[in-house]
């Protein structure tokens, strides 16, 4: 939920990067951090994971300038992607204002993308937020692997998968939280 501070003329929002393990959520934050000017970004915080997987979350605060006199401060978070870190994902989703779902274009990750999207819908529903109404960006990541040894899914297939969960809902194959 956004915080509107009339005393400081500031609006704070929380955006969470979501997706399956190794899809590139932390890399997204690292890229944003490396490409933004010093005066608009805070420190990037990554909780030590003893490896290249996110155990808890990464965090980056950005000041995006003014809209109608209000400073817009956006806080970017990532979640751990592995299935068994669901409790942590739920914690990070608390108070979320928008989600970036990072879809992995690798063919071998197709099933995990769908599972993660369904997991997002379920965890949002537990917070009283519908995936249909929350501001949601879907990013098809790793498109630059096209033409390499790693086999990637065509955009059309990813688009089809994106719509799959809604289709399953219509068929009544998924629980009521969708």
């Amino acid at each position: 939920m956004p915080f509107i501070n009339f005393s400081k003329d500031e609006i704070q929002c929380k955006i969470v990067y979501y997706g399956a393990g190794f899809c590139g959520k932390t890399t997204n934050l690292q890229y944003i951090f490396s490409q933004t000017k010093e005066d608009i970004k805070g420190k990037m915080v990554s909780i030590d994971t003893k490896g290249d997987r996110t155990l808890f979350f990464d965090f980056l605060s950005l000041n995006l300038g003014k809209i109608r006199g209000f400073d817009i401060r956006v806080q970017l978070y990532t979640v751990p992607g592995q299935v068994h870190y669901d409790a942590t994902r739920k914690l990070v989703l608390k108070g979320v204002d928008g989600v970036v779902f990072v879809g992995d274009s690798l063919k071998v990750q197709r099933k995990k993308n769908i599972e993660s999207l369904i997991n997002l819908a379920k965890n949002l529903a537990e917070k009283g937020v519908s995936i249909r109404t929350v501001p949601l960006v879907i990013q098809y990541n790793k498109r630059d692997l096209d033409g390499t040894d790693s086999e990637i899914l065509p955009i059309e297939v990813l688009e089809k998968d994106r719509r799959a969960w809604a289709f399953l809902k219509r068929l009544g194959k998924l629980a009521s939280w969708l």
Partner: protein, 140 residues
């Protein structure tokens, strides 16, 4: 969508409480953050601290220990204390939405900090519940 609105008047009341807390306990600074990691207000003398990161990590820390509490059959741990060589941090839950973070060094003691927090906590709770009640009205 739920929106939290903090007016100038709300913030003045919060500042008054936090100011009293700092001056009576000799704490370095106090922060009031919401459980999703947003900073609501801070008071005191901590210019070099990255407040945004501290708020995000505090909320996560509190959330994680709440899960530990549930595993142990407790509803929640309402306070946490981290002791360092020079700096200490004391976290206390205020209602279901907010956490008070107190940073202090060896000029004061944990006992004094706890005593002074006890004196302001009821007043802060009232102010904050008014703010979060407004949220409900806005979203209805």
């Amino acid at each position: 969508m739920n929106i939290i609105l903090i007016t100038q008047k709300d913030l003045e009341k919060i500042d008054f409480c936090l100011n009293r807390m700092v001056s009576s306990s000799l704490a370095q600074s106090v922060l009031l953050i919401d459980r999703s990691g947003q900073l609501i207000a801070h008071h005191g003398n901590a210019p070099a601290i990255d407040m945004s990161s501290l708020s995000a990590l505090t909320a996560a820390n509190f959330g994680a220990t709440a899960e530990i509490a549930k595993i142990l059959g407790e509803e929640e741990f309402t306070l946490l204390f981290h002791k360092g060589r020079n700096e200490n941090v004391y976290f206390s839950a205020i209602g279901e939405h907010v956490i008070l973070v107190t940073l202090f060094d060896d000029r004061t003691s944990l006992g004094v900090i706890r005593l002074q927090i006890g004196k302001i906590i009821d007043e802060l709770s009232k102010i904050l519940s008014t703010i979060f009640e407004k949220k409900k009205v806005l979203t209805e």
